[in-house]
């Protein structure tokens, strides 16, 4: 990005490496979902699945979408989008989490 058009940030072996990470992540998430991890804590399966998904997403964004070599403004957009998403999730859930107060609990 920027002035260095003819400069390659990442070459074919690099792309293949990212691809391999993504494939391994997919296989891992498939098999990890079959194992019951509820003995650690309820919902451990979901947490693991999300950790793998976030790792895969980070690989795609940094290397396939070239965010790693992009101007600060692109970094900011990418990070800010998740910040806003976090606000939406947090405020939605704080509503739903507290709705049962007074119904099921005194």
């Amino acid at each position: 990005m920027g002035l260095d058009h003819d400069e390659q940030h990442i070459k074919i072996p690099g792309y293949l490496l990212v691809f391999a990470v993504l494939v391994v992540g997919t296989i891992l998430t498939y098999f990890a979902a079959q194992i019951d991890l509820d003995w650690i804590f309820p919902g451990a399966n979901t947490l693991l699945a999300l950790v793998i998904a976030f790792t895969k997403m980070t690989c795609v964004m940094l290397f396939f979408m070239h965010v790693y070599w992009s101007p600060k403004m692109i970094w900011l957009s990418a990070v800010a989008s998740f910040f806003w998403l976090g606000i939406m999730f947090a405020y939605t859930m704080q509503d739903y989490f507290t709705r049962t107060i007074g119904v099921f609990t005194p």
């Binding site: 002035l3 194992i35 795609v60 989008s81």
Partner: protein, 290 residues
């Protein structure tokens, strides 16, 4: 055309440079920021659906797990791999555009399109399967069986459901197995809101119809989320067709490949959405199946 140098001489500018930009660097940066602003809005667009998912899954985890177990994780996983391969070929399209290699660009765009189409074909197989098994959450949109053949009332409770004959004269959403909710009840992990959601208030037992309606919410979300994602794939294939034509014509070079790069960003974004949809829709109740 940048004309603030009053030399009157020929002023060289790169072939892909639009007149409102100073140089290629500024042009590329503006184009990427514009594309990223669009993608941020897309994230919020899908984010609304993800928060609906979050709310209902938190409220009815067992109904969601039961619904998820009726999706085929093999097809979902295969589609994840198909999309990852298409993301690789898309990234290589940009790479070869930067290298001025027209033929490789055309080949990579074609491969991306083939994998994109494969994804949609698998989606058609899955949707057909849901249609044939009465899992489309809209009455009348499922496969109808001839009228007159009445379904006899099940005698066993829904957690001992074993019957697998498909009788559906009105094409209704059908989900008769509530064994997962029973299992959670026995293990004492059924939440209070689930008890309100699943129980028949007069008998205090899990009610087949009430449980079915919570599974129906899962299938609403499944169809809307994957349907919206599939729509994005179709738009992506449209972009690819245009890109294929332009690349074949030789429009792109190491100096000008912004359309390839921007279409690539879109394609990768659609891939990322699926990376989350796959575990959240297909795999969430798998560990209960043993």
């Amino acid at each position: 055309m940048a004309s603030h140098e009053d030399t009157g001489h020929f002023h060289y500018h790169e072939p892909g440079l639009q007149h409102q930009f100073e140089d290629m660097g500024q042009q590329e940066e503006s184009v990427s920021i514009g594309m990223w602003m669009f993608l941020v809005q897309e994230i919020m667009f899908f984010g609304g659906l993800f928060s609906a998912y979050l709310v209902f899954r938190w409220k009815f985890p067992m109904a969601f797990a039961a619904g998820s177990n009726h999706l085929d994780a093999f097809w979902g996983g295969l589609n994840t791999l198909v999309l990852i391969v298409s993301s690789l070929t898309m990234a290589l399209t940009v790479f070869f555009a930067q290298k001025n290699r027209r033929n490789m660009q055309v080949i990579m765009i074609l491969l991306t399109m083939v994998f994109g189409a494969t994804f949609l074909a698998v989606k058609v197989i899955e949707y057909t399967d849901k249609y044939n098994h009465g899992l489309v959450p809209v009455t009348g949109w499922n496969k109808k069986t001839p009228p007159g053949v009445e379904e006899h009332k099940p005698t066993a409770p829904c957690w001992e459901h074993t019957e697998h004959v498909y009788v559906n004269p009105k094409g209704e959403f059908q989900f008769k197995d509530c064994s997962l909710a029973k299992m959670a009840e026995e293990e004492g992990i059924l939440t209070e809101s689930e008890k309100v959601g699943y129980y028949n208030p007069s008998t205090g037992q899990i009610d087949a119809d009430k449980f079915r309606d919570k599974v129906r919410i899962f299938y609403y979300l499944y169809f809307v989320m994957t349907g919206l994602h599939a729509l994005h794939m179709i738009v992506g294939l449209g972009l690819m067709s245009w890109l294929l034509f332009a690349a074949w014509r030789g429009d792109f070079s190491f100096q000008y490949y912004a359309p390839v790069e921007m279409s690539g960003l879109y394609w990768h974004f659609v891939d990322i959405v699926w990376i989350f949809l796959f575990p959240l829709l297909y795999l969430l109740g798998r560990h209960f199946m043993h």
